[in-house]
């Protein structure tokens, strides 16, 4: 039995929206593969990370597992760090970062 399929309206809407957000994330992955510049790829991965955070928050409520919110917080922090670090690295190659 899938949890949420027998649940109330809010849970069903959350799981449905999480599914649709995953479909949109797969669409954004096209830009991460195609590029053409490095910044395009970083931007696409950044949007993917934001989507992942939102999906994790939706699943935390939809599946009734609040620990997923902690994972979402860590994911948001690492996502921001990744974007800034790669942007800095592409500008000053051979620098500290």
């Amino acid at each position: 039995m899938i949890p949420g399929l027998s649940g109330d309206l809010v849970t069903q809407v959350f799981l449905l929206v999480a599914t649709l957000l995953m479909v949109l994330a797969v669409a954004v992955f096209y830009r991460a593969v195609k590029g053409p510049t490095t910044q395009d790829r970083v931007l696409a991965v950044n949007v993917l990370g934001t989507n992942t955070v939102v999906v994790l928050a939706l699943l935390a409520e939809g599946l009734g597992e609040p620990s997923l919110l902690d994972i979402a917080l860590v994911y948001a922090l690492l996502n921001f760090l990744m974007a800034v670090a790669i942007s800095k690295f592409t500008v000053e190659r051979g620098g500290v970062l």
């Binding site: 949109l24 669409a27 954004v28 053409p36 510049t37 939706l58 409520e61 921001f80």
Partner: protein, 150 residues
């Protein structure tokens, strides 16, 4: 009664978030260059994530997990535009030219033009002097390429 209002508010917020995330995805896929894509990623995506997380926070009610969700919302509102700004600025420092309406080159050709440009200095760009030097020699690869095509 109040439960109906709350449920409809949650569903409305989450669906608004889904709509704005869809707009952001369309923009990232369809817009012509990195700068406009950074624009849509910083605005539409932040708004979509904000709406959806607000819906989640409303659905969780008064608990410690709601505090985490609001913290997440606040953090995404702060960091997502900052990251998009850093990415767009990195593209500018690398010499990627913005696409204009009278420019029928694709983003791959703009990227190749940025790669074939002579790098004025190997070191990291510092301050306004390096940027103005970049702006003066930015026009030459465009004109040579257009001359080849005609």
């Amino acid at each position: 009664m109040i439960e109906v209002v709350r449920t409809s508010a949650i569903v409305g917020l989450v669906l608004a978030g889904l709509f704005f995330t869809f707009v952001s995805t369309t923009g990232v896929l369809r817009l012509p260059d990195i700068y406009s894509r950074a624009h849509t990623a910083s605005q539409a995506d932040t708004l979509g994530a904000g709406f959806t997380l607000a819906g989640v926070a409303l659905a969780l009610g008064w608990s410690t997990t709601t505090v985490k969700t609001v913290l997440l919302l606040f953090f995404i509102f702060l960091t997502n535009p900052t990251a998009a700004h850093a990415i767009a600025r990195a593209a500018h420092e690398e010499g990627v030219e913005p696409w204009t309406t009278d420019d029928d080159r694709s983003d791959e050709q703009l990227h190749e033009a940025a790669l074939s440009r002579p790098v004025p200095d190997g070191g990291p760009a510092t301050g306004d002097g390096a940027e103005s030097a970049e702006d003066t020699d930015a026009g030459s690869p465009v004109e040579s390429q257009e001359g080849d095509r005609s």
